[in-house]
Each structure stands twice: as structure tokens, then as C-alpha cells.
Symmetry: C2
Subunit: 411 residues, 2 copies
Amino acid sequence: MEKSLPIPDLDGAMALIREKVLPLETEQVTLEHAAGRVAAENLDGLQPIPDFDQSTRDGFAPATEGPFEETSGLVRFRIRGEIAAGDTRNHTVAQGDCLRIMTGAMLPEGADRVVPWERCRVSGEFLELFSDELEGGEHFVRRRGSELKQGSLLLGGGKVISPEHQVHLAAAGNERVAVVRRPGVACFCTGSELVRSGQPVQPGQKVSGNRFLLTGLGRRFGGIPEDLGVIPDTAGELDSCFQKLAQQNNDLVVSTGGMGPGKYDLLEESFVRAGGEVWFRALMLRPGKSILFGRLGKSFFIGLPGPPPAVRTLFNELVGPLLLRLQGVERTYPRVVTAHLSQKLRRKKTGVMMFSGGQLFFKDGRCLVRPASKMEVPDCLIVIPAHRKSFKPGSRVSVHLVSAPFSPALS
Amino acid sequence: MEKSLPIPDLDGAMALIREKVLPLETEQVTLEHAAGRVAAENLDGLQPIPDFDQSTRDGFAPATEGPFEETSGLVRFRIRGEIAAGDTRNHTVAQGDCLRIMTGAMLPEGADRVVPWERCRVSGEFLELFSDELEGGEHFVRRRGSELKQGSLLLGGGKVISPEHQVHLAAAGNERVAVVRRPGVACFCTGSELVRSGQPVQPGQKVSGNRFLLTGLGRRFGGIPEDLGVIPDTAGELDSCFQKLAQQNNDLVVSTGGMGPGKYDLLEESFVRAGGEVWFRALMLRPGKSILFGRLGKSFFIGLPGPPPAVRTLFNELVGPLLLRLQGVERTYPRVVTAHLSQKLRRKKTGVMMFSGGQLFFKDGRCLVRPASKMEVPDCLIVIPAHRKSFKPGSRVSVHLVSAPFSPALS
């Protein structure tokens, strides 16, 4: 266990994750179940959008071809019938005639424009217009393929499908889509002092809160979390936990606690006894002094430290990106933004890169950030480079956004 | 039906929503089920965080009171035992003695500091230190109430509970929380040309995509959507739909389509025949030329127009805020940001305020926005005031963010 291992920085850790972690297999789902899933391949429209020329107004579709009856600038078309939205018949309009047409209805053959209802005067069986009222009528027609040509790209592989994409896919006739399987994530918290919420708490004990982070953030990154509960910090309990996990098919196992160098931190020993392979046990990053990353049977394993702010930060920076990688998400996460500090920032010098919780805000077109207060939930992480420990107000800093890459359409 | 109704602007519509819509009733849930729910009242910590003085390191807790054995700067404490994390006994350390202590364990009476393991030398039954190594040891103790005093505010009423808040609530001993009931939202799409995804589509018909927006965005704003499907645009079908809805207990009913001034747009007539009360049928806003807002039995009703970009925009600006209002969310939604246009923007002059889809991005501490392209999903809406139709690159514009106020912890 004490063998020497590399201590990567954040980029090194991410490079290792990209090397070791490959996207899960593809599955087909109906469009209805596609929201919040990751497209496994480029999704091209099967049909053009729209797939027929259609009216965008209620009105009349006059024949393109004249001559019309014309008296002092007034033209007349004989009204020959009507086309309702959803009418699936093939209509044709003959020279000098017109058809009533409803919003969404298919333009008849022989017509190239629509005159909206409110511009029209009907006199008996005739539509009467001033000839200049015909102009611009082509703007009330959505042409076949005008929004999307058949076979054009709708959504790139590796992107998360949103309800808005579902609308486009439906319009393009894509009824089923190939998505990447969602990763199963087994979570547990270790610590002999931990008690589940709802159980009686003695002095010296505390309620385990990290389970809410592991399951909640796991879901936020597209995983399907399974909460294994609190595992006491003893060799026997940890051995039995890891031995079970080694036989299971979780894509990822995440734990919190048991990561320090102390006597009772038996997690790594048990992990290795169960067959676990350790790739790193520390990072050039704070938090990140203690973090276990490796593989156990079919599962990747990340052991996070115990303090919730560290869990939150390392989840955002490493566990989340690993879950995205398992789902084949191509876009870079987290999103990095440059912001101006609205107040001074001073932190203990650690000699390594450090993350500090922040709150981003916007003023007059500028991005500003302030350090988050103690019990506040940060919406970003301020990057403090290894060589810096204080910043003046107005300094430019890099921040990593803490945001949910998946929409709540996930269930 | 043709009675004259006010045509409010966006602020007027929101004022009406605030006047008519009140938060739903409160329910108690266990902490486990609190993520994504809205706090119905201020949530104060029931216990301080932490609720006992605890060590943040594995190490030794020496008695505060000397004298210690001291030889040429070296002090010695007799090791009297140890305190594991989770140990619920009351330990005391006597003058000149120390106890081993583990991370998270309760500090014994008689001690006020912890000396981390890595600074300590153990010689037989003694701990040996240079006296200056005792200094700073108080920093390795998390004091009772140092993060949150008992009874302090953890989360204000009207805020959405995140996994991060659950961690705080767990630590403060709050096992149950009062939340606002989630609103039930019945959705349907009308249009005789519409076909459900997966059904065969004839020329002249199209697949209904708006159902994905109504259900997906409904969930994004905390609602529990029920999809009533496609309702044909006939008086008989609409009458029967509204008459059923008038007897039900939905908090909100949302429809798309059937909103134009044309012959087949029977929605408002059927709504009124079923007992619906109309509050407005148009807004001084584009999109928003046709939008029905009113009440039917126990439900609020919003009838949106048919084009998906209009559905998306009006959902973000009105339906979403209404759902938030039903849940007692106090914060202003959507979030308004000033950004610089990265390219020129030109739109048809409408004489009323207009929203145009945009993509927000950040560069060197500045917020920039560009118009979204046709098939792109916008992440913000650019506000175009009534009197403007073109903007030069670099112009400052207001944008409304399109973001999910709820985390995916909702299921």
C-alpha cells in the first residue's frame, strides 16, 4: 500500500480519466425517453423541417398564375374550397381561383403565397384584394426544408438531449434515438461517528450528510445512484463492503471519508485486499490532498475525503467529469469563466492549486465573483494558483462554474 | 368572447399572476425527499454545527493545564488512552496527560487543542514535542457552533433545497422539513394536423413536438406534468376536454395551439363554455400576440400559441414564473443580465417589446451575447425594446437567462 504513486495535478488527473474511462454502450430509446440522455452519435433529421410547404396564417391561397379579374387595381379570385390544417388530400388551385387555407395546412399546388385573413374581403364567392396586397404573401409560407434540410445535423453525438431538441427531433421524424447508457453509481460514506439521518444521535456522533451530495450530484451528472449507506470505519466492515462491490457491475463506486493518513483510515488497505488497483491517492490540488482513484473489478472507484466542501469540489471537478466521460459527453466540463473579484481574497498558501467557493454575479456587462460565505452554497469555484495567496479587489480570476449539465427531465 | 380585455405588457402580466396565484399548501417531508423542493418557511438549524468540539486531525489532545515535563524545550505528556471518531463517552484529560484522538472525535474535557499525528513523536507511553509545536494546535479543533449557531437561519422560505442544503440540514439535526406541494400540470396540444410521435404521419400532418416542451419545462420548473396528448381542433373535442378539466384538481392547465384569430381557433370559445374565465388573450409582447390566461374551476389556465419558439419563450417568461409562484419561490425569475452584443442584431419592428433567442458567453470578464441560429437551443432571450429594431455590435442589451431553477434531484 505504501508504494510510491504519482501525485498528478488536476490536468494530469483528467488526462488519466480520459485514458482509463471509455463511454458505455449505446441503447435505443423512443424520443419520449430521450430527455436528459446523451446522444451516442450525430443525430441527423430523417425528414426536412417542415416536410411540406405550409401556411403560417389563416387566410387564402390564390393561384400564382393570372390573369385575374382586375378593376381599378382590384383583383378577384373565385373561392373554390378550403384546406384545413391536417387535411392530407392533394389540393390544386387553378388559374384565377383560390382556396381558403388554415395555419399549418399544406399549400395547394398552383399557389406560392398566402394572404392573411385580416387583409381579405370576401364578396359572395369571390375574394377581393388590391393587387399590392398580394405582395409579401410568400412570407406567410414555411417552405419545405426551410428550417432543416433532410439529413442535416440536428444534434452532435456526445451532447445532452433537452426538451427543445426533442421538439426538433419530433419535427424531423426521428422517433427513436441512440443514447449512451446511464452509469450506475454505488455510493457509501465511511466513518464510525456517522449516523443516518432520522436515527438517534449521541454526543460524539454526527448525521451523515455526504450521502445527499453523492446521490444528488450523481443524479445531476446523469448517473443512477444507489446509496449503500454508512459503512463503519473498521477493516472487517470495509473488507466486506469492497469484496461485495468487486463482484458487482457498478460503473462507478464513490465513497467519502477514511482518506487521511491516520491509524483508522483503513479504506485503501481494504480496497487493495479486495483486488482494487490504485492509480493515485493524492493530487497537487486543495482539496485533493487525499483522494483515491482506481479500479475494482468492473467499477471505477473514487474515494473522496470526508469534509462536505471537499466532497462538493472534487465531485464537480473529477467525479462529475468521469460520469460525463462514461456517457460520452464531449464538451468540456466544468465551464471556465474569467471574472473580476469584487472584494479581496486571501487564502492560506498551500503551494498547490486551490479551489475556493464563490458566487458569480453580473453587472453592466461584466462578470464579477465574490468568495462564498461559510454556509452558503457556492455557484462557482475560484481557482487560486499555486504561487498566489492573495488577490486585490478587481483582480481577474478563473472560476469553474458549478452547474448541472443535465436538465431535470432526468427521472 | 369578443369582450374587450386589457392587453398587458410583461410586467402587467406578471403583476396579474402575482395577484391571482397564491402558494400551494405546505407538507412535511423527510430530509431524504427534500431535494428540489421549495422550503415553505425559514429553515433554522435545530442544533449548532458542529454540535461538539471535534478534532479535524488524527493526533493527540494534550491537557491544557501544565506543568509539563520540560527538558531543553521538550515537553512530555503521558498517553492515557484514545478517543475514536464516534466514541460517545465523556473523556477527560488530566494535567500533564494526553489522549490520542482521531479526526471527527470529540475533544476531551481539559484539552483545547490537537497536535496532528505527523508532528508527534511517541516514546514509550509518552508523547514528546518541542513546546512550540503545541502552538496553533487550537486550529485543529472545530468548535461547537463555529459554523452555525443553534437556531440560526440555514435556508430562507421560498428557496429551492439543493443537495448542498441537505448536507447542512442533516448536520443541524433537521430531519423533516416543511415544503410547498408540487403543482400538478395538465398539458395538451391542439391542432388537427398533429400526430403523436411514433404514429404514422401523412403529408399535411406533423408530429406534435410541443408536448416535450410542456412536460420537460413543466418538470424543470418543479411541476408534475400530466400529458393529455393531442386534442383535435374541433368544438366537440375541445368542449369535452375543457369540461373534464373543469371538474379536476389540476393546479395549472397549459395548452399549445388554437390561439389565432381564425375560423378554426375554437379554443377560447370552448374554454368559456366550460366555465372558464379569461383574464387576457393577448400581450404587448412578441411572442405573445395570442396567449390565453384565465381560470377554469380549480385550475389556472394558460393557452400558448403553436410555434415551438413561442412556446419556449412564453413558458420561460410566464408559465415557469407561475409554477414558481405556486411553489412560493420568492426569488425573481428569470434572472436578468446585461450583455454586450457580439454582432449586429436586426429584427422586424413590432411596436412592442420582443424576445429573440440568444447564446450567452464570457470573455475576459465580459458578458457577451449573440443571436441564436435557427435550430440552436437558446440559453437566453435577448430583450428588444418596443422602439428598437437594430443594434450595432457591442451594444448593451438586457437578456433573460433560460435556466432550470430546480436541480435534477427532482424525480
